[in-house]
C-alpha cells in the first residue's frame, strides 16, 4: 500500500500551497528527486550531447543515453534505439503521421476513435486533408462508453493503413483492450499507434505483451518535467521510415546533393534534444518504480472507485464512461444537472482549493457523441488521499446547494 502522507512530503507544491490537486490527467506535480535532478544537471553538466569530444560533453551524453535506456526498460522496448525523444506526446503522433504518409505504399484508411484526444485526431486529419493517400474514419464509442469492437471490425480491412487509439480515454476513463485491437489490426496488415498518455502514468506497460508498433506518451503526466515526450517505434520500422523533420545531429553525411541519415533514434531527433528533461525523467521513472507501479495502480484504482461510488449517490448527476466497479483509468468525468462544469470548477477552487478540470478536455468529438457541451473531470495520482476524494465530494454537494436548482438553459 502506498503511504500517501509519505508521498505527499516529496511534493513541494503540496507543502507550499493549500491545494487538493485533482487535475492529474492534464499534468502532474513534481517530486523532489526530479527537481533535484534538474538542478544537478544544470549545476554539474550541461554540454551538448553526442558531438562533443571533451569530458563534460562525454559525461552529459552518458547521462542522457542512460536515461534513454531507462525509458526503454520501463516500457520493455528491445533497445534504446526504439526510443525517440520528443517535446510532448502530441509531437510523437505528428512525427509518425507525417512519416507514415511518406513511407507507406499502401493508401487507404486510418482509423481513429471517437474517444481520442485531439492530439490523436488532428495530426491524422491534417495529413489526410493534405494527401490523397489517407482517409480518416472514426471507430464509434458505445453508449456505455466502450470502444465499439463490432464497429471496429466493420471498418477494419486490408485497406486499413493504420489504427490509432488511446490506451485509456482521457474523458471516459475507459480502459481499452489493447491486445485485441492490436491483433485485429495486425491481421489486416495495419500498423498500430497507441496513445499511451493516460495509461503510462499509473499502469505497467510491457511492449512484449501488447505488440503495438508505435507508442507515445508525455513525461509531464507522470511526474517528469514539462517539455518532454516519448515516441516508441519498433526498430525495423524506424529504420525504414523517413524522418519528416530535418536538422543537425541526424545525418551521417550531407553534400549539396545527397543526404545520408543516421540510424534511429537520432534520425528522428533533429536539433538539440531536451537534454536536462530527459535526464530528469529518469529520476521520475526511478521514483515511480520505488513506489512500485502495481501499488500505484491499486492506489489510483481505489481512489477512482471511491469517487465513482460517492458521486453516483449524488442526485441529478451524470457520470460518463464505465459503470461502478468496472475497470476505469484514474479519472471520472461527470456533470451536475443545472450547474455548468465551469461554475463547478470555479466554485470548488474558491470553496476549498480543489483543482479539477472543466470543459472539453481536448476531446470535442467525444462530447458531440455524448451530446454534452462540456464536462467536469477529476483525476487522481500518487499523492491523492481518500480524504481528498471526500473533500471533493463534500464540495460538489455544497456547490449543488449554492448554484443548483436554476440553470442557464
Amino acid at each position: 500500500m502506498l503511504n500517501v502522507e509519505d508521498v505527499k512530503r516529496d511534493f513541494p507544491v503540496l507543502k507550499n500551497r493549500d491545494l487538493i490537486y485533482l487535475d492529474n490527467a492534464a499534468t502532474t506535480l513534481t517530486p523532489e528527486p526530479v527537481i533535484q535532478s534538474l538542478q544537478e544537471y544544470y549545476k554539474k553538466l550541461g554540454a551538448s550531447v553526442h558531438r562533443g569530444i571533451y569530458q563534460l560533453a562525454n559525461e552529459t551524453t552518458e547521462e542522457f543515453e542512460r536515461a534513454r535506456n531507462s525509458i526503454a526498460d520501463y516500457i520493455g522496448a528491445n533497445s534504446p534505439r526504439e526510443i525517440v525523444l520528443t517535446k510532448n506526446c502530441t509531437e510523437g503522433i505528428n512525427v509518425i503521421a507525417y512519416s507514415l504518409e511518406r513511407w507507406q505504399e499502401k493508401s487507404g484508411k486510418v482509423l481513429v476513435t471517437e474517444m481520442d484526444h485531439h492530439s490523436n485526431i488532428l495530426p491524422w486529419r491534417f495529413i489526410a486533408n493534405g494527401s490523397k493517400k489517407f482517409q480518416l474514419e472514426y471507430v464509434e464509442v458505445t453508449k456505455e462508453g466502450r470502444l465499439d469492437i463490432e464497429d471496429y471490425k466493420r471498418k477494419l480491412s486490408p485497406e486499413t493503413v493504420a489504427v490509432a487509439f488511446p490506451g485509456i480515454s482521457n474523458v471516459l476513463g475507459t480502459v481499452n483492450p489493447i491486445k485485441e485491437v492490436t491483433n485485429l489490426a495486425h491481421e489486416n496488415d495495419a500498423l498500430v499507434i497507441l496513445d499511451g498518455a493516460q495509461w503510462l502514468p499509473h499502469r505497467a506497460f510491457d511492449l512484449s505483451e501488447y505488440g503495438v508498433d508505435f507508442l507515445t506518451f508525455s513525461a509531464h503526466k507522470m511526474l517528469g518535467p514539462t517539455g518532454l515526450g516519448v515516441l516508441y517505434g519498433r526498430e525495423e520500422l524506424l529504420r525504414m521510415m523517413p524522418p519528416p523533420f530535418g536538422g543537425g545531429e541526424m545525418v551521417l553525411n550531407v553534400t549539396r546533393q545527397k543526404v545520408k541519415l543516421t540510424d534511429p533514434p537520432q534520425k528522428f531527433e533533429p536539433g538539440t534534444p531536451p537534454i536536462a528533461q530527459t535526464i530528469a525523467f529518469k529520476a521520475a521513472l526511478d521514483y515511480l518504480e520505488k513506489l512500485e507501479v502495481s501499488q500505484i495502480k491499486d492506489h489510483v484504482d481505489n481512489l477512482t472507485q471511491r469517487a465513482v461510488n460517492k458521486l453516483s449517490k449524488i442526485p441529478y448527476i451524470d457520470i460518463y464512461g464505465p459503470k461502478e466497479g468496472e475497470p476505469r483509468g484514474g479519472l471520472v468525468s461527470f456533470n451536475l444537472e443545472g450547474v455548468h462544469s465551469h461554475d463547478l470548477a470555479t466554485a470548488l477552487d474558491s470553496l476549498d482549493n480543489i483543482a479539477i478540470r472543466a470543459g472539453l478536455h481536448c476531446a470535442q468529438p467525444l462530447h458531440e457523441v455524448l451530446e454534452i457541451n462540456s464536462s467536469a473531470r477529476v483525476s487522481f495520482y500518487v499523492y491523492n488521499s481518500n480524504e481528498d476524494v471526500d473533500r471533493f465530494i463534500a464540495g460538489v454537494k455544497e456547490v449543488k446547494t449554492i448554484l443548483g436548482g436554476e440553470n442557464g438553459e
Binding site: 500551497r17 455548468h340 462544469s341 465551469h342 461554475d343 470555479t346 466554485a347 477552487d349 474558491s350 470553496l351 472543466a358 470543459g359 472539453l360 470535442q364 462530447h367 454534452i372 457541451n373 462540456s374 456547490v399 449554492i402 448554484l403 436554476e406 440553470n407 442557464g408 438553459e409
Partner: protein, 125 residues
C-alpha cells in the same frame, strides 16, 4: 498569491438566476450568435436601433453563471447607448460591473460582449 474571490458576486448570481432581457425580438435590426468552443456556451443577441441609439436588446442562449450573468448585465449596460459608445465597451467595463470575477474565466464574460460587437459591426458602426 491573490485573495480568492467568493464563488461569485451575489449580483452576478442574481442575474444568472433571473436574467434580464432574455428572449427574442420580433423584428431585430441586427443580430449575432457566438459560441465559446471551450465549453459550448452559446449566446445570441438581437438589437433594434432608433436613430443611432440602441432602443431594444435581447439575448438568449445557454451557459455558465458568468456568461449568462454577463449577457444579462451587458444588455442593461447597452440599452440607450449610441452605437459608437456601445462599440467602445471593453471587457474591463463589463468585469467592473460584475464585481470582477477571477481572470481565469475572462472568456466566459467576454462572450456576450463579442456577440454585441458583432451585431453592432453589421450596423457599420
Amino acid at each position: 498569491m491573490e485573495n480568492k474571490p467568493k464563488i461569485y458576486n451575489q449580483d452576478v448570481l442574481h442575474h444568472y438566476q433571473n436574467p434580464h432581457n432574455r428572449g427574442k425580438l420580433d423584428d431585430p435590426d441586427f443580430s449575432a450568435t457566438k459560441e465559446n468552443p471551450n465549453c459550448g456556451d452559446r449566446i445570441s443577441l438581437q438589437l433594434k436601433l432608433s436613430e443611432d441609439e440602441i432602443s431594444e436588446v435581447k439575448f438568449d442562449g445557454h451557459g455558465c453563471v458568468l456568461s449568462i450573468g454577463a449577457a444579462s448585465i451587458l444588455t442593461q449596460m447597452a440599452m440607450g447607448l449610441r452605437v459608437s459608445e456601445a462599440s467602445d465597451l471593453t471587457v474591463d467595463d463589463l468585469l467592473n460591473n460584475m464585481g470582477n470575477p477571477g481572470k481565469m474565466r475572462k472568456d466566459c464574460v467576454s462572450l456576450a460582449l463579442e456577440v454585441l460587437k458583432e451585431a453592432l459591426s453589421q450596423s457599420g458602426g
